[in-house]
């Protein structure tokens, strides 16, 4: 993430300060706007890992009414006597739909070259 921030030219920062922007404005108007792709990546990765998280959810969410999708799917095959493999696989596909939609929505921001044209060469 720091590596991405480093690709934003320092000249932009200086130029904005001369234009009259304080530290906060430089951060909000320039740095955050130009760092958008990496922020989206970080958001997506952390969302996905929380969504699919199993061990902690299994221990803490004991009430059947409140289980996450991952815990629920796991319970379909947890009992060695009743293993619903087909049902679990179908559930897995359904579970991918939210993530898939999210990706479609954020895909537009995941572009490189956002700073193209700022500085020469």
């Amino acid at each position: 993430m720091k590596g991405y921030f480093d690709t934003i030219p320092i000249d932009l920062d200086e130029s904005a300060r001369i234009d009259g922007a304080g530290h906060f404005r430089v951060f909000a108007d320039l740095i955050m706007r130009l760092a958008l792709p990496i922020l989206v990546v970080v958001f997506f990765v952390s969302f996905q890992s929380t969504f699919n998280e199993l061990p902690i959810a299994q221990v803490t969410l004991s009430d059947q009414q409140n289980t996450t999708a991952a815990v629920g799917l796991n319970s379909l095959v947890a009992n060695p006597l009743i293993q619903e493999w087909g049902l679990m696989a179908a559930g897995g596909v359904m579970m991918s739909i939210p993530l898939f939609t999210l990706f479609l929505l954020t895909q537009k921001s995941l572009v490189t070259g956002l700073t193209a044209g700022a500085v020469k060469g």
Partner: protein
């Protein structure tokens, strides 16, 4: 519009590097001042100190009479054009230009009026909706200019704004910037390493070397009366020709002896530079501009005003013939000449003279000299420059 006063500015970096030493320049209201020097001479550092992007170690900086040493860049009311343009990539051209005004909470209609006016001036009107990455280099450069113009600041600062453009565009933008700045009549400080830009654009030029000011004056002053060998060699293309010459007494007057030739120093020149008398019997560094020499077969000179040499190379440019010739003599080698040679290395033709000194003269196009000829060259002895070979300073008073 305001004056800018640099009063004994110093910049010492944490690692002890002394980038700018006792720099004192007064820039008048509405003046176009160019700071020029070889790379690493501290000119950009000095400009960044004026902008507020670098701290001032010691000394005082005043803009419009107000001390601004401790004022933030945004409080100095200046605008800067960067070498890299530094446009905001996610904003359109219009937003780029308007950003500084929006931050100052100017009413929208006023912002639009100013942006449109600047766009018209720079012929950017049809590009206002584009993003910087959709523009060519010259257009981006104009947007960077426009961003400065709309602010209507006290002072314009420009840090090598043309060095990223190709040669043809650079000449065109040079004229455009000059015209725009003069139309606005705003105080401008311009940094460049290109002495041609400095000569053509500036009201005055400040020549820097290793953090020290060498000479401050109008371009023609710096060209015609250089204060030292560095200025003589740095300003002008080709650089001033130099040779080590011995000063002898001849009757009432003085004459110069070098490379088997003798030049009479006219009495008027000695009267103007009485210090030359003290150099009798010693050596001086003699400097001659290329245009102060002529082919002797075209315009025979008085006795004691010509030198002999062998032509290495001729370059016919149509309006003149540039003749490179050598003659036996002792070249002037100082720190300055080495530095200038280093700086000119790129893109310049270098033929190492086997022995002696290599000079460049420009002759009238009627001259028929060819490579390998032994020729006689008439020197305009009134316009010869004299320098002390040890101190590098011009010999004047």
């Amino acid at each position: 519009m305001a004056t800018v006063e640099l009063d004994n500015l110093n910049k010492v970096y944490e690692n002890g590097f002394h980038a700018v030493q006792d720099l004192s320049i007064d820039v008048d209201d509405g003046e176009f001042l160019v700071m020029v020097g070889p790379s690493g001479c501290g000119k950009s550092t000095a400009l960044r100190m004026v902008a507020g992007l670098e701290d001032i170690s010691t000394g005082e900086l005043r803009i419009g009479g107000r001390r601004v040493n401790d004022v933030d860049p945004q409080g100095r009311d200046i605008a800067m054009v960067f070498q890299s343009y530094a446009l905001y990539p996610h904003m359109s051209v219009a937003d780029n230009m308007a950003y500084g005004l929006k931050l100052r909470r100017m009413p929208k209609d006023q912002i639009n009026a100013r942006v449109n006016k600047a766009a018209e001036m720079l012929e950017l009107t049809h590009l206002l909706d584009r993003k910087p990455k959709q523009l060519s280099g010259g257009q981006r450069q104009r947007v960077a200019m426009g961003r400065s113009i709309v602010r209507e600041p006290q002072v314009f600062l420009m840090d090598e704004p043309l060095s990223n453009l190709d040669a043809k565009l650079r000449v065109q933008m040079r004229a455009e910037i000059s015209a725009v700045v003069r139309a606005l009549n705003t105080t401008t400080m311009y940094v460049t390493h290109d002495q041609i830009e400095a000569m053509t654009m500036g009201d005055r030029m400040a020549i820097l070397k290793a953090g020290k000011l060498q000479q401050l004056g109008t371009p023609s002053e710096c060209y015609d009366t250089p204060d030292n060998i560095f200025v003589a060699q740095f300003v002008g293309s080709p650089p001033m020709n130099l040779v080590t010459a011995k000063v002898n007494r001849a009757g009432d007057g003085l004459e110069l002896e070098f490379g088997g030739s003798t030049l009479q120093i006219p009495a008027s020149v000695v009267a103007e530079r009485p210090a030359l008398q003290q150099y009798a019997g010693r050596t001086v560094a003699l400097g001659v501009r290329s245009e102060d020499m002529e082919d002797a077969s075209l315009r025979p000179g008085a006795p004691g005003s010509s030198i002999k040499g062998t032509v290495n190379l001729t370059e016919a440019l149509g309006s003149e013939i540039v003749v490179h010739f050598t003659f036996p003599g002792e070249p002037v080698v100082t720190e300055d000449t080495k530095l200038v040679a280093e700086d000119h290395k790129e893109g310049e033709l270098h033929i190492v003279a086997d022995k002696g000194v290599r000079w460049v003269a420009s002759f009238a196009p009627r001259s028929r000299v060819r490579m390998g000829d032994d020729i006689e060259i008439v020197v305009d002895v009134e316009r010869v420059h004299y320098f002390d070979p040890e101190t590098s300073q011009a010999i004047r008073a």
